[in-house]
Symmetry: C2
Subunit: 314 residues, 2 copies
């Protein structure tokens, strides 16, 4: 089934201990869409500037991603520059130029209206809400956010949270949103804000899902949390987009399945980790553009092998 | 099979956001021995002072732990006081009084000489080495250490590391020992220092095992790391001894099994997490004294449920 994603398509300048790149294709919607495209149909809504060329668009279309919702505006595309030289786990933002994103008003093409799954990537909650309101017939809504919206746009974010089936954020964001340092307490508080399910990303330690009492419709009595591993990696070239790639793998797999069972949900968490682990192997979207489904499933087996009691492969 | 543990038996004064206790029974060997006692026979070598009463000894003997190696010395027992009020994940040491531990020279009772498994808890590596030298017929040696020995007693520690089958330390200690921030690189470097296997404890995120090329003798081709979860806990009353309890559950289970297979090793990692999760539920050794084997196995199932793709329990 098809996923509609709204979020940023951007150019990133990134510096890590492995090197530096200038103006490589990035943005939350980009990483998400590429990761999800290995599992299901994906449609993108975003705004780009005159610097976004046919070559850039081909990165999407080569993966079968529908770009009819990519709006061209006068000016330059959103640009972010950051450094991971001091700390590989947390980007130090050097510069953010919203550019054409400043006046973005997401419009949903008619051909997108029958999308089954909606993903609200990390953008202004006002825009997230506007897209959500236009997509009332989706089967599931999943969303992301970040510390900036949590601290400075709490009221707008609160409205979005009430509409979410799944909120997908990281450790620090959960604790910040709940104002509680204990992850279990913080998760309970966040679930009370609206999301039926909360997926917390722990970076190199994997991810944990917490289920509210209304999590999914039937047969889903998973009141216990679920923990998915991350692959211990010897080389992390560029962590940018790892979280969005996790989201793409997770949601892409969910959308590809006819029914949402506990095992399907857990498998989706594993595929999230798998796509995140590929994303960081090279700069920008380089690795997500050319990974094969065979490599993805091979790594999925590896994730199972490193976390399951029974020894799977000989 | 029997485990011989050498380490501290102490009195702790602890303050956490849940409250405070004065002079409760503690020490690495104590937590380790209690946790391991649910799986196999345990023998303790340590020194205590005149303040260690029959009542304290009964905490060990009630769990069937052999205390013939508990030496009584003039003076007071080792005393530690610490606070977790500011940070539940890391103790702030307020005071350390070595007392009778200052002149401790471990003596191994004749009746301990046939022990099959040796655990060198976190004490001066000189003492660890001395015990190791006297126990040449053991099937396996597992050891712990801490930042103080890593930074100030590196040469002595290096000798111990060369003798270890399993080194069991936490994240920060691995990175410090290897002088490398990347966990995978750090683990490789530590494995080159001698331990055949490295188990890294991540606190609330679980634990990861890294296997060297000489890990275990046969049929153990597990070159991939293995990740065991931790249970997300709503209440952590007192984290003191969680790592030692992990070690006790891990090593106790290993020692209880006739053969060391990959699944046995992985199961041991899970039991480590299980015992750690009980340890923190109450102050000191309170919870480890009275947990039942049924509760332990019930929680083991829960660990499996929160980490395995297939939904186990209805």
């Amino acid at each position: 089934m098809s996923i509609l994603v709204v979020g940023s398509v951007a150019f990133d300048s990134i510096e890590t201990s492995s090197g530096a790149v200038e103006n490589c294709l990035g943005g939350a919607a980009t990483h998400f869409a590429l990761a999800a495209s290995y599992f299901t149909d994906v449609r993108v809504i975003a705004v780009v500037g005159k610097d976004f060329t046919e070559e850039h668009e081909a990165v999407f279309t080569r993966r079968g991603i529908d770009t009819r919702g990519l709006e061209r505006a006068d000016g330059l595309s959103f640009h972010w520059s950051g450094s991971y030289v001091k700390n590989l786990n947390e980007a130090q933002t050097l510069e953010t130029d919203l550019n054409v994103f400043q006046n973005f008003d997401p419009k949903i093409p008619e051909s997108y209206k029958d999308s089954d799954y909606l993903f609200l990537a990390n953008i202004d909650p006002v825009l997230q809400a506007r897209v959500r309101q236009q997509m009332t017939n989706v089967r599931m809504v999943c969303g992301d956010t970040m510390n900036y919206w949590i601290s400075a746009h709490a009221a707008n974010l609160a409205k979005v949270l009430r509409e979410l089936d799944v909120l997908l954020i990281n450790d620090g964001e959960v604790r910040m949103l709940a104002e509680d340092q204990n992850l279990v307490h913080a998760a309970s508080k966040v679930l009370e804000m609206g999301p039926k399910t909360l997926v917390v990303k722990h970076g190199e330690y994997g991810a944990t899902a917490f289920f509210g009492k209304d999590s999914f419709s039937s047969g889903f009595r998973a009141l216990h949390p679920f923990r998915a591993p991350a692959l211990p990696l010897a080389e992390v070239v560029d962590p940018t987009g790892a979280g969005d790639s996790f989201a793409g793998g997770f949601y892409g797999y969910l959308a590809s399945q006819p029914e949402l069972t506990p095992t399907v949900f857990r498998t989706a968490m594993f595929y999230g980790g798998v796509m995140g682990s590929f994303a960081v192997e090279r700069f920008g979207t380089e690795r997500l553009q050319d990974v094969s489904r065979e490599e993805i499933d091979e790594r999925f087996c590896l994730f199972k092998e490193i976390s399951h009691l029974e020894y799977e492969r000989s």
